[in-house]
Amino acid sequence: MLPSLPIAMHIPDGFLSGGVATILWLLAILAVANALRVANAELDESRVPLLGVLAAFIFAVQMLNFPVAGGTSGHLLGATLAAVLLGPWIACLVMAVVLTTQCFAFADGGVSALGANIVNMGVLGALLAGFLMKALLPLLPKSREAFLGVVAITSWLAVMTGAAATSLQLAISGTVPLGTVLAPMLGVHGLIGVGEAVITVAAVSAVLASRPDLIALGRFPAATPVTAGAAPAGSTP
């Protein structure tokens, strides 16, 4: 019937009831409004290009569906990566940029379901990552391995949280009973979450190797005054 309807892990219109979709739109608006406030207060000028390139990277890698078991695929969500690099609230903004573009320019993910997609793939993962990284890192040795281990676990949990939230919303909408949908959703996303962890750890490792100061959630020389000393060549227009 709808052979080319793209459902690239994004909820299309028709899966959620009007009430559920509206509540999630409101939650997404609240989250993005707070993200705008945080960005306005805290986003340093030197990080402006980073926000752009991180959104571009997440959009690009979301196109790279990788196969998981049984003729099923998955792709990166990216909320954990964004939260590790820019902090949880600005990560919500990055994810909203990506998901809104996908919705309106690429017809990927529904319009009435856009709030749900922003919450499930962006806000929940970003806030979970922000919370877990802050809670777990002080308990662990200050090593690269421990840091990347926390990044991996957080990435996996962010995908599982999004899958669980989606299942719950589908159930409340009356689309499918929770008992029917939760186990298969968590099963397949348990595998997709491994891909999320691998990609996120690889990307964070690359940043650690080249610009560790760009990592917002970590105990690296945080936010060095790039404007003051470390901008020698070619950075002034």
Binding site: I7, D13, V53, F66, F106
Partner: protein
Amino acid sequence: MRLSTRLFVMLALAVSVGLATAVSPYASSSPDGLERVAQDQAFVDDGRLHALQKEAPVSDYAFPGIDNPRVATGVAGFAGTLFVFGFGYGLAYVLRRRGSRGADADAGTAAA
């Protein structure tokens, strides 16, 4: 190896555009997690396109007017990645914190 912010961003953007253009045409086309569950649990046919999306410029990640599906996907990835970069950059530029402690002279001095 420590890169300047500008070089870091340019490299990261090049990697992103490269992946979206050259690798995305070869990505798995199997149904993804949600789609698979929706098929298995028989609610996939509930999905529909919103009226606003019928005229979406790059529906289904295939750039219009290109017959070869791999090329159409690659061009869609190229254009989309650059668009998202500009969108994110522009939004961040508008939102950025003003009047930072540094000596970057901006408008604000007139008020003082």
